[in-house]
């Protein structure tokens, strides 16, 4: 885990400063210093990792919060008396341990919710309630599974890193046995289990290995609560939710879909991969002020930072 306490600067600032150094090195006397630029690229990568982790953690928190609020709102609409009956019924169907309060459900009740929802005898109300509680449970399940790895109790040898980029504590290589920041999400609608690592899909890890790989085919399924969209009772909810999701990714109202994030990560994947852009961009303004937000948002504006040797 990167010890950020010692650093007053945030990750964005560091990214800014690092990019400026790389740019300045191109005009320094004596030519580009390979060693220094390699070291700067490491700082850039470390700062990027932290920045992305923070962003995804934020997204996840926001998603969770919204989901919980949605479910709670739905629950509040239901008749409290009906709730108590439903819970007794549900608990009779399986051997789950259900707490007294209707709002507190053990994660294990997810499995109860599944067979329960198949009961044709259940009223639509009950169906919805079960789904709602399952949502809470799913959230709980997801929460339980989220383990931010503060690992490396074992010794960390830099020289063993044969991969394109050095292994760090939060290594998001699919080859690594240690997963950091792994979230398992159960989509109750399609019953698809998705693993999100360090804020992005498992397939993205593969994308990092193959530089320049395309965006993962699978769409993110953060919206495990969005099954509610399928229900006709709450038709308007989904669009708002989705819009908010996208808004988060585009703080400056620019195009930054998930494929771009994967590309960003693959660009920063190795020591120099991220610094040699595939497209030279003459429009990239070099006012001496490198805005890291801008940089992250407008991937097409990368300049060729290091001349190919």
């Amino acid at each position: 885990m990167i010890n950020t306490m010692e650093c007053a600067m945030d990750a964005q600032n560091l990214i800014s400063i690092s990019l400026r150094k790389i740019h300045n090195s191109r005009t320094q006397r004596g030519g580009i210093k390979l060693h220094k630029n390699l070291l700067v690229s490491y700082v850039l990568r470390n700062a990027k990792q932290l920045y992305m982790n923070e962003k995804y953690a934020e997204i996840y928190r926001m998603q969770q919060y919204e989901e919980v609020m949605t479910v709670c709102n739905e629950i509040q609409e239901l008749n409290p008396l009906d709730l108590a009956e439903d819970i007794v019924e549900a608990s009779g169907d399986c051997c789950s341990h259900v707490a007294g309060s209707p709002l507190i459900m053990e994660p294990a009740s997810v499995c109860c919710a599944l067979p329960a929802s198949n009961h044709p005898a259940h009223t639509p109300h009950q169906q919805q309630q079960l789904q709602a509680t399952a949502a809470c449970s799913a959230a709980g399940l997801a929460l339980q599974n989220e383990e931010v790895c503060k690992e490396t109790n074992s010794a960390f040898f830099r020289s063993c890193c044969a991969e394109a980029y050095p292994v760090t504590d939060c290594d998001f290589s699919s080859l690594s046995a240690v997963h950091c920041n792994k979230t398992t999400v159960l989509d109750l609608d399609t019953h698809v289990v998705t693993t999100v690592e360090s804020g992005y899909l498992h397939q993205d890890c593969c994308a990092v290995q193959c530089q320049g790989a395309q965006a993962p085919a699978k769409k993110r399924k953060f919206d495990f609560g969005c099954y509610a969209a399928e229900s006709e009772e709450v038709p308007d909810f989904t669009p708002c939710k989705r819009a908010r999701f996208e808004d988060f990714y585009c703080p400056h109202s620019e195009q930054l879909d998930t494929s771009n994030i994967s590309n960003l990560i693959s660009i920063f994947g190795s020591g120099f991969t991220g610094l040699v852009s595939r497209q030279a961009d003459s429009e990239f303004s070099l006012n001496g002020q490198f805005c890291s937000k801008q940089t992250l948002a407008s991937l097409g504006a990368w300049t060729r930072a290091i001349v190919a040797f």
Binding site: C7, R29, G30, H35, S159
Partner: protein, 446 residues
């Protein structure tokens, strides 16, 4: 404070060379310092491509307490700025390293290198000259042969001592990247030169060929993860050399194993302490210098915050670690911003390998006595430059309450850095280079 004998050594100011001006000309910035094998000569190289050699005066019999002073012996322009037209790159004339060859005859030889080209210089003395030519006047003008009526034999007459430096060999065009090290082999016939990605082996007599013995350039440059930062031959095993990397590892190679020494014989690496992980972990673990001990049993490495002594028989971790300026660990952000974190400090052993020395900021330098487990911080400054004045140990206060005579971390001058130091091979005489001044200190003789 300690020296070779194990008794406490007190260091005294001896001399300072260079301009007193606070306004430092960039060309005057000292970039390398090296004693020759006897210690009689001390060479410095600077950013302007010049080499200045100082010679120690013979000891004054009437003043046995004082060791001889070092005075300028020779000055010459070793390298000039060049331009690589193919790559549109300017090649700096800055002297990166000087290495002396062992003396074989009356002349002295040294290797000096900039980023791309290594030169072998012969420094010789001339104290007599021939006089009485038949066809030439004394001032050099040619005489008309028809005016010659008698013949005489020219004779050598004494003259004022003149020291000449002449380039005997130029070893060029063998390095694509910037040369960081040169090291003369103990066979006195070959030497190595190392750049960021390759190490080449040369014969001192042959300039049009060199053998590549290490190549860590990846097939795809985008996969680059480490560079070579320093390399050195073993002091008495002519088949063995080491090279250090930006990842904090040292590889020992045996040239008998194969022509291309990409596979190391030994890999020296210490696992990283996970609790110290930061944005800058990679930078501060990069090794800036590696030096074998004189006896060849140990080697010393310098990274940004520490000096480590390795036993060549143990690869898993260093046998000794000395913190040079641990108080900087909490300042790495600022040091990254102002580029100081990229400073490459060198280190050196004393003659009997009992003490090691390295530089720091604020014109401080540090000595670590391995036997007595003592360390001292001294300062090279004009203020303490009175002849034979004893240097007072300095102390930096990392945080908390500052004691009297202590200096707080925030008042350190990071522009005043001591990157290059050298220790006389036999005596307790040290040469310490500040930005543009060379300080010579010696131990107090009673």
């Amino acid at each position: 404070m300690a020296g070779g004998g194990g008794n406490d050594v007190q260091w005294c100011f001896s001399q300072v060379k260079g301009a007193i001006d606070d306004d430092v000309a960039e060309a005057d910035i000292i970039s390398t310092v090296e004693f020759n094998h006897s210690g009689e000569l001390l060479a410095t190289g600077d950013k302007g491509g010049r080499v200045v050699i100082f010679q120690q005066e013979p000891e004054n019999k009437s003043q046995p307490q004082c060791r001889g002073e070092y005075n300028v012996y020779s000055t010459f322009q070793s390298h000039e700025p060049e331009f690589d037209y193919l790559k549109s790159l300017e090649i700096e004339e800055k002297i990166n390293k000087i290495r002396w060859l062992p003396q074989k005859n009356a002349a002295q030889f040294l290797l000096s290198t900039n980023d791309k080209t290594i030169k072998l210089w012969k420094i010789s003395e001339r104290d007599k000259r021939p006089e009485g030519y038949n066809l030439k006047e004394e001032d050099g003008r040619y005489r008309d042969p028809t005016t010659v009526t008698t013949l005489r034999v020219p004779v050598f007459r004494p003259m004022d001592l003149m020291v000449e430096a002449s380039p005997r060999r130029v070893f060029a065009n063998a390095h694509t990247y910037h040369i960081n090290s040169i090291s003369v082999n103990s066979d006195y016939e070959t030497y190595l030169s190392a750049d960021d990605l390759r190490v080449n082996l040369w014969h001192l007599e042959i300039t049009d060929r060199s053998f590549n013995i290490v190549d860590i350039k990846p097939a795809n440059m985008e996969e680059l993860t480490e560079v070579i930062t320093a390399a050195e031959f073993h002091p008495n095993q002519c088949n063995t050399f080491v090279y250090s990397s930006s990842k904090g590892t040292i590889r020992l190679c045996d040239m008998r194993a194969s022509a291309l020494c990409d596979k190391h014989s030994k890999l020296f690496e210490e696992p990283e302490d996970p609790s110290n992980r930061s944005f800058f972990s990679e930078i501060i673990s990069s090794i800036s210098d590696v030096k074998f001990s004189h006896n060849g049993r140990y080697m010393m490495t310098r990274d940004y915050l520490s000096v480590k002594i390795w036993d060549l028989n143990m690869e898993s971790r260093p046998v000794e670690t000395y913190q040079v300026h641990e108080y900087l660990r909490s300042k790495l952000c600022s040091l990254y911003e102002n580029d100081c974190i990229f400073d490459k400090f060198e280190c050196c052993w004393n003659g009997n390998d009992s003490v090691v020395m390295t530089g720091s900021y604020n014109n401080f330098f540090r000595m670590f006595d391995r036997g007595q487990k003592k360390d001292v911080t001294l300062e090279a400054s004009r203020e303490s430059s009175k002849p034979r004045a004893v240097l007072k140990p300095r102390k930096v206060c990392g945080g908390g309450k500052r004691k009297k005579d202590e200096i707080s971390v925030d008042s350190l001058d990071f522009n005043k850095k001591i990157l290059h130091t050298a220790w006389h091979p036999q005596e307790n005489i040290i040469a310490v280079a500040t930005t543009n001044n060379l300080y010579i200190f010696q131990d107090k003789l009673n």
